[in-house]
Symmetry: C2
Subunit: 341 residues, 2 copies
Amino acid sequence: MTTRVGIREVARAAGVSVTTVSHALNDATSFRVKAETRQHVREVARNLGYAPNRLASGLRNQRSQILGLVSDEITTTPFAGAMIRGAQDAAYERGYVVMVVNSGLDTELEHREISMLQQHQVDGVVYARLYHQGVQLPQELAGMPTVLLDAVTDDAAISSVVPDEVNAAETAVEALIRVGHTRIGMINNVDDIPATHGRFDGFRNALRRHGIERDPRHLVIGVADTAGGRETALDLLSQPDRPTALFCFSDRVAMGAYQAATALGLRIPEDISIVGVDNLELIADALWPGLTTVALPHYEMGRWAVHRILDDIENPGRPAEQARLACPLIERGSVGPPPPS
Amino acid sequence: MTTRVGIREVARAAGVSVTTVSHALNDATSFRVKAETRQHVREVARNLGYAPNRLASGLRNQRSQILGLVSDEITTTPFAGAMIRGAQDAAYERGYVVMVVNSGLDTELEHREISMLQQHQVDGVVYARLYHQGVQLPQELAGMPTVLLDAVTDDAAISSVVPDEVNAAETAVEALIRVGHTRIGMINNVDDIPATHGRFDGFRNALRRHGIERDPRHLVIGVADTAGGRETALDLLSQPDRPTALFCFSDRVAMGAYQAATALGLRIPEDISIVGVDNLELIADALWPGLTTVALPHYEMGRWAVHRILDDIENPGRPAEQARLACPLIERGSVGPPPPS
DNA sequence: CTTCCTTTGCAAAACGTTTTGGGTTGGTGT
DNA sequence: ACACCAACCCAAAACGTTTTGCAAAGGAAG
């Protein structure tokens, strides 16, 4: 490794003091250095390939320009990747970099990983969950800028961002109503999580808003995976006056519904329309026909979270906010007009 | 923020000098501090909740304890998550932390992101790709510990780790042979990448090793996504003496094969056995029946890469190595004995 | 009692920046 | 010619560690 070029080398090469170099490079507003000199210094620095040592400047300024991102899981779905990517892009735009750490469900491990982040003097941490849920913030994050990503907590003083579950469901169901469906079923999740309740509310809202009466037999509940979706869909679609369209809790459930439809000899979308939630491309694109679904805005949530935390860091004092981001409809081929009865 | 407790506070509280504290905490071998004192200091430090400032120690030691991980994409599949997770786990075990950065295909962006990593004085960088491919290492990484993850390059001086494609295919095909198949088809990828060639070689090896003659009509090639898999599988399975088992380039291709089989009224695995490669749980678990497949060892590759790079950092000079990691068979339900002819 | 180790602890320098309080230069008003 | 002021630049301190070179204390040998 050729000895790294530091600010002193630049100073020497430019024939000025290190102070002047520092001012020339960083502090654009001050008039402590003549514009001409500044220009010169910048040029010399560039030619020498100077890059500041952030350990040193971080130490001096009490600001590392590093953000921590702690997430529970990262490997099951591509969601985590999208959140991380969003966070990184936003951080990059503002000169920061993010340190990702994940702890599984092990709170002891989480504790020590947060401690590592703090040893590296992160300026703030984004505390992320893989799916929308309520959390309790670890003690040791108190007193440090923090925002929740895909999670909420009851402390109104801390900012958070989650998908707007109600809106997601409304969007999905309205895509069905728009093409003429009135007998719309829903396959919901059994778990007691925000998505379950929010998506049901959105389902109900959409029907009511369009004056459609809800048939209670058309609501079924099951485990939110493909097998669960298959079984509940089989039940639902075997009913005497089965729905002509299905709003599924997730894309995986929707995949189960595809299997059920196929097993019953129903064609999609000619005999039955299906919409999901998640926009897992791996599934939605692979199904045949492609699955129309609403996307959870993981990328955007990641961006939102770090922009918010950087705002908090750069000028503190703004009241916390709890954001819910909209979920856009992604149309593929699984929605069509209801069959003539 | 209560003023952070530093080494001086510990020293004062323990009634010794900062030197002594530093020796007591770090340097376990030296006899510069009496065991008793060491014990005392450690206790005081713990009680005060002391945590070292790594910016400061990094600056002093010229070692940040940070590893960079640059990857091309992160959001498409869960693969990236698994690699990152493996890298983090390994780093954590050895007191390091990893900074993830991803650049898409934009080399200009990549350039600047690597520069960021270097400004943060990363001790080494893992250069990762989402799927096994040849790469050219960016200029600016020269002279810094580097290992390739899921990628190879022609410079034999740098270490790399990739899946053993040949072995993966052999494992998959032998799972078919083991239960009695002899008419085995393969749906390969069109792209000119290592996986394409390696998996074909493995396919051929396995057949030859078991004295099975290969029928050239049973090799088909198509775009390696679900639609491609569906179409090529339709061709293959419509042949007069169709194979009784299919080795698919990937799980997505296998999903297409499922769709083709269903369309042709073939049951899996009674009429046709199918095996894939990737172990994308999102797909393999969701198919019905579950897809038997070989797993690409992303997690293990991530671990391998950072262990290797930390070895290089901690005692340099060991010759580089190019590792190929084995791919275990994951059995679900898509393989059965061939139908009685 | 002196000399010479050994053991233990301390003060200070160094890492690469940023920033404060002065200092130097050269020009302007009287 | 004198004081004064702007404009520019510099030396030095500080951030929190680690480590080096010394010094003090205590014990053993002569």
